[in-house]
């Protein structure tokens, strides 16, 4: 038995691969649910009901999908150019912290719309700067960015802890380690009244559109793709690798930072060290499930959010630990990698 590269990947195959991967992940996780003594079908039914069963459930799920879309886009942009940004989690937190700091009282008095725009830029800048360091180290000294970006996550989370225990501590939080909140004027308006769903959803969808436009239609996007596939040939053709990689890094870090900023402005108000259930890491799964395509990222983020939100409901109803959500998402990454193998290769005997 051997694997043979396909001449071209049929469109239908590429589209069904993520669905097959998800089905396989759910089937594998069913084994664990069974081991927990629960009928998997009943458990999954609870999960779907918990995430999609009511208006409130759907808005909760979409609220959860917003940061995943943005961190997913961050990973997709970077991975396309073969820049392995594993630091989405750190960029998310730094973006969140910067927005809370600036948005608390530094820009008071600005009109709300302008203030929100400023804070979005602040969040992006924080995330972008955080990834600029590892990108520079890679370009200048060949330091592996997988290691630097991954380790920076822990440094940033500890730094956030330091700040919210110290200078940015919220005095009104009764001793809870929480940062000062963003000024109420700059909180994102609700999209659906009396739910937590905010206009960040529209922002994330618009950003996905813009990212698609950049990647597919601009000179920069084309050069970034070329550099990702074959850096030597791109350089030979006159693409400046340092500029392209740095541009990709700023965009990717900026998107993950924006995710953190929007989460603060839209949901939490202030920053805590537990505000992200791994949005940065889950963004990698989202990007892979989406085969690095921006439109796919939106769909994949909705799927991962469904699992996260639904698993809580399932856990309450059936007693299966909600950690099953992490297991399903992790399995989905593995099955997707296998599915990608089968879309680009064909098995021959």
């Amino acid at each position: 038995m051997r694997l043979e590269r396909r001449a071209s990947v049929p469109w239908a195959l590429a589209a069904t691969a993520p669905l097959a991967a998800i089905a396989a992940a759910l089937a594998l996780a069913a084994g664990l649910i069974l081991a927990a003594g629960v009928n998997p079908f009943a458990a999954y039914a609870e999960m779907v009901k918990g995430a999609l069963g009511s208006r409130l459930a759907v808005t909760e799920m979409l609220t959860r999908a917003v940061p995943l879309m943005l961190t997913g886009l961050a990973a997709a942009v970077a991975f396309r150019a073969r820049l392995w940004n594993i630091g989405g989690e750190g960029q998310f937190y730094l973006g969140a912290l910067a927005v809370a700091w600036v948005g608390h009282d530094l820009i008071s008095g600005l009109p709300p719309a302008l203030g929100i725009a400023v804070l979005m830029v602040v969040g992006m800048a924080a995330g972008a700067l955080l990834l600029a360091g590892p990108a520079f180290l890679r370009l200048r000294f060949g330091v592996d960015e997988v290691v630097t970006t991954l380790l920076l996550n822990f440094i940033v989370i500890l730094f956030v802890g330091l700040m919210i225990e110290g200078p940015l501590r919220d005095p009104l939080a009764f001793g809870w380690p929480q940062s000062v909140p963003v000024d109420d004027a700059f909180r994102l308006p609700d999209l659906v009244p009396r739910t937590r769903l905010h206009i960040g959803l529209l922002i994330a969808l618009a950003v996905a559109g813009v990212v698609w436009l950049i990647l597919a239609r601009t000179v920069f996007g084309t050069e970034a793709r070329a550099a990702g596939f074959n850096a030597r040939a791109a350089e030979f053709a006159g693409v400046s690798l340092p500029r392209t990689i740095m541009g990709v890094a700023l965009l990717s870090g900026g998107l993950a930072g924006l995710a953190g900023g929007i989460e603060v402005m839209g949901v939490t108000g202030g920053v805590t060290t537990t505000m992200s259930p791994g949005f940065g890491y889950a963004g990698i799964v989202v990007a892979m499930l989406a085969a690095l395509h921006p439109a796919g990222v939106v769909a994949a983020a909705v799927f991962v959010a469904t699992v996260f939100v639904g698993a809580d409901a399932m856990s309450r109803a059936t007693g299966v630990p909600s950690f099953i959500a992490d297991v399903i998402v992790a399995l989905a990454l593995l099955t997707m990698l296998v599915a990608l193998l089968f879309t680009s290769y064909r098995v021959r005997r």
Binding site: V219, A226, R232, A237, G238
Partner: protein, 506 residues
């Protein structure tokens, strides 16, 4: 003589493509058989079936009179068939001895019998004249040395029939000659050899018999002494192919001038004190054995490497080290040495590859957005004008054959109307038909007044196309000779580093 190998009406289809169509082939003991054909004629597929990598759809393989079970390389090895692939299958981080012994011992044996293995390897190395250093790490070996390891690996497994897939594709000419001497020695000791090639001169020089494949069918079989290169070329291509000839014409003013240029590559001086002048409407050929500084010269003229010393000027302006983008903007077209590694981005479609060098030009982008319609139209034009077969603008470029990919790269360069063209090994790995097409295009660009630098290891090509020639030896360039003065003896001396320096040279 006994027949050691018999392929009987082998047919293999890949989807709609019939790669081998009822091919029958026999190999006698002690014989060197050349399997000749253009790229895509089905040579490698046939050998992969023989070796058990593929199972044939129809037909049988018999080795020493016994039928081989299809699709089992191990059975082929046990029957005494050894294969040396074009792309070597060695583990670079292991030693030569490790690589040779790997997989030859039972999995469950606790301790590797390395001393035995070493003695056997050294004995084989001695017997067949294939010197190797058993403890050297394979990653540090030259390509020629790696090929020796591959051959020893097959011999270590008691191969009596050796198959070599394009063995000279990666070798410089003297190494190739040495290889064929070794192969001849092996047949003297009773081994039988098939080598795959599309190079006529080596087939003529090294084989006893030639089988010609075209379009998956065996179209002819000849005893080598009874045929001629012209005869074989026609059989291989299916029509008469003649390489175009250079017509004398007047050259123009100096275009690209290098004065005492020195280039460092990976911390070593790769070009030293190199000077040349290319005029408009002239082809300057740079000949030499590979590894003598061609890579550095290519990098310098592509804009990748900056000169450490000396001047590189285009029409009097210094351009050394400005970078690929500036070189392209200045009208220097570059055909890189390695198509796949440098020439194209394989995963991108033809249209994106055709404009990648000039994305920033107003023709192909406005305000940072790619003008996709214009780029696609440009690609379609290149496909049409340069006869790129099997391509549409949407085809992923890695699916093109080497010759068609090269025609597209050449088209990309020529369509920009370059002042200077760097053609670095432009026909390496191409078949006769494609070579003729590439030569015709280069000569056409010359008549239109382009200044062309042709770096080539193929003497015949360099002499046929160039107005003047310089040899590259150890990172230095000889003084130029005109094509008329360039007889083989003089070129040979130049490539060996013997030439007269002019009186006024510093």
């Amino acid at each position: 003589m006994t027949t050691v190998l018999h392929l009987d009406r082998i047919t293999k289809r890949f989807g709609a493509l019939t790669a081998n169509d009822a091919v029958t082939l026999e190999l006698k003991e002690g014989e060197i058989l050349a399997l000749l054909g253009e790229n895509g004629a089905g040579k490698t597929t046939l050998m992969n079936i023989l070796f058990g990598h593929y199972a044939a759809d129809e037909g049988r393989v018999e080795v020493f009179g016994r039928e081989l079970p299809p699709g089992r390389p191990r059975a082929a090895i046990e029957a005494g068939v050894g294969m040396v692939h074009q792309h070597f299958t060695l583990a670079g981080n292991l030693s030569v001895l490790d690589n040779v012994m790997l997989g030859s011992e039972p999995l469950l044996r606790l301790r590797s019998r390395r001393d035995e293995g070493r003695a056997r390897l050294m004995a084989l190395s001695e017997q067949f004249g294939l010197p190797v250093e058993p403890d050297a790490r394979v990653a540090r070996l030259s390509v020629g040395e790696r090929q020796r390891v591959e051959i020893l690996k097959a011999l270590y497994r008691d191969a009596r029939i050796l198959i070599l897939d394009e063995p000279t594709a990666v070798l410089a000419r003297p190494e190739a000659q040495r290889l064929f001497e070794i192969l001849r020695g092996m047949t003297g000791q009773g081994l039988s050899i098939i080598f795959i090639s599309h190079k006529l001169n080596e087939v003529m020089a090294a084989s006893d018999r030639v089988a010609v494949l075209r379009g998956g069918r065996k179209v002819a079989e000849r005893k080598t002494p009874e045929t001629s290169p012209e005869d074989l070329a026609e059989l291989m291509v299916g029509r008469r192919v003649t390489r175009p000839r250079r017509q004398a014409h007047a050259v123009g003013a100096p275009r690209l001038v290098a004065e005492a240029v020195t280039v460092q590559l990976d911390g070593k001086t790769a070009l030293e004190n190199v000077s040349f002048t290319v005029h408009a409407g002239e082809i300057l050929g740079i000949v030499g054995v590979s590894g003598n500084g061609q890579a550095a010269l290519g990098a310098l003229l592509s804009g990748i490497a900056a000169p450490e010393g000396g001047r590189l000027t285009l029409e009097g302006r210094e351009i050394g080290g400005l970078g690929p983008r500036a070189f392209i903007a200045e009208g220097i077209g570059r055909v890189p040495e390695d198509r796949h590694a440098e020439g194209v981005v394989g995963e991108l479609p033809v249209w994106e590859n055709s404009v990648l060098e000039r994305l920033a030009a107003p023709e192909f982008s406005t305000r940072g957005f790619v003008r996709r319609a214009a780029a696609r139209a440009h690609a379609a034009g290149l496909i049409e004008r340069f006869d790129v077969r099997g391509a549409t603008p949407e085809t992923r470029i890695r699916l093109l054959s080497g010759g068609n990919m090269q025609k597209l790269i050449l088209g990309r360069v020529l369509s920009a109307g370059p002042k200077v063209i760097l053609a670095n090994q432009p026909t390496r790995g191409l078949d006769e038909g494609a070579i003729a097409a590439v030569h015709a295009e280069l000569l056409a660009a010359r008549s239109e007044g382009a200044a062309i630098i042709l770096i080539s290891e193929e003497l015949e090509e360099a002499v046929g196309l160039s107005d003047r020639l310089q040899a590259i030896v150890g990172g230095r360039l000889s003084t130029p000779v005109s094509a008329e003065e360039a007889d083989p003896r003089r070129l040979g001396l130049m490539m060996a580093g013997v030439w007269e320096e002019p009186e006024d040279a510093a």
